[in-house]
Subunit: 70 residues, 2 copies
Amino acid sequence: MNPAIQNRLKDLRSARDWTQEYLADAVGVSRQSIISIERGRYVPSLPLALLLARVFQCPVEAIFALEESE
Amino acid sequence: MNPAIQNRLKDLRSARDWTQEYLADAVGVSRQSIISIERGRYVPSLPLALLLARVFQCPVEAIFALEESE
DNA sequence: GATTCACGTAAAGCCTGCTTTACATGAAAG
DNA sequence: CTTTCATGTAAAGCAGGCTTTACGTGAATC
């Protein structure tokens, strides 16, 4: 029960010219959390993923995707 | 960093006449995990939420929603 | 060349998602 | 009435998400 996850967080953030700190504040987590997610160190919780989808105004699936194991 | 989450898992599952065990197998977790999520004891991980969305063929947001604190 | 800004690493600690095992219950079915 | 099936509870243990604190780095700016 730990399928890998891809994410487009860094792309979406820099497309909007947001700093990591700004994004962290926007969703209410630490800057460390944003860094760790962007760098793929860990996968966010579902509540955080939903918050990120909200601030980016897109579906969760547009940010996070299951890595297909083929 | 722990906004509450609502979920429609039980509704979606029984609408398809699936047992908890069938669903658990379909997404590769234990039956306990399904029970606990349905009963609101805990919020699933993002990977599990994505798997559930996949088997239900719907967006994550159609199953899980941030509870609005108004 | 000192300061600032955005980004990055490291490590310790708490909380909780998920597992496994074991047992309980009501409804259906023989 | 016993068996089976779907659902539920309880508890212990591990893994990992997230926090806080502290420090390192290159680029820009003065």
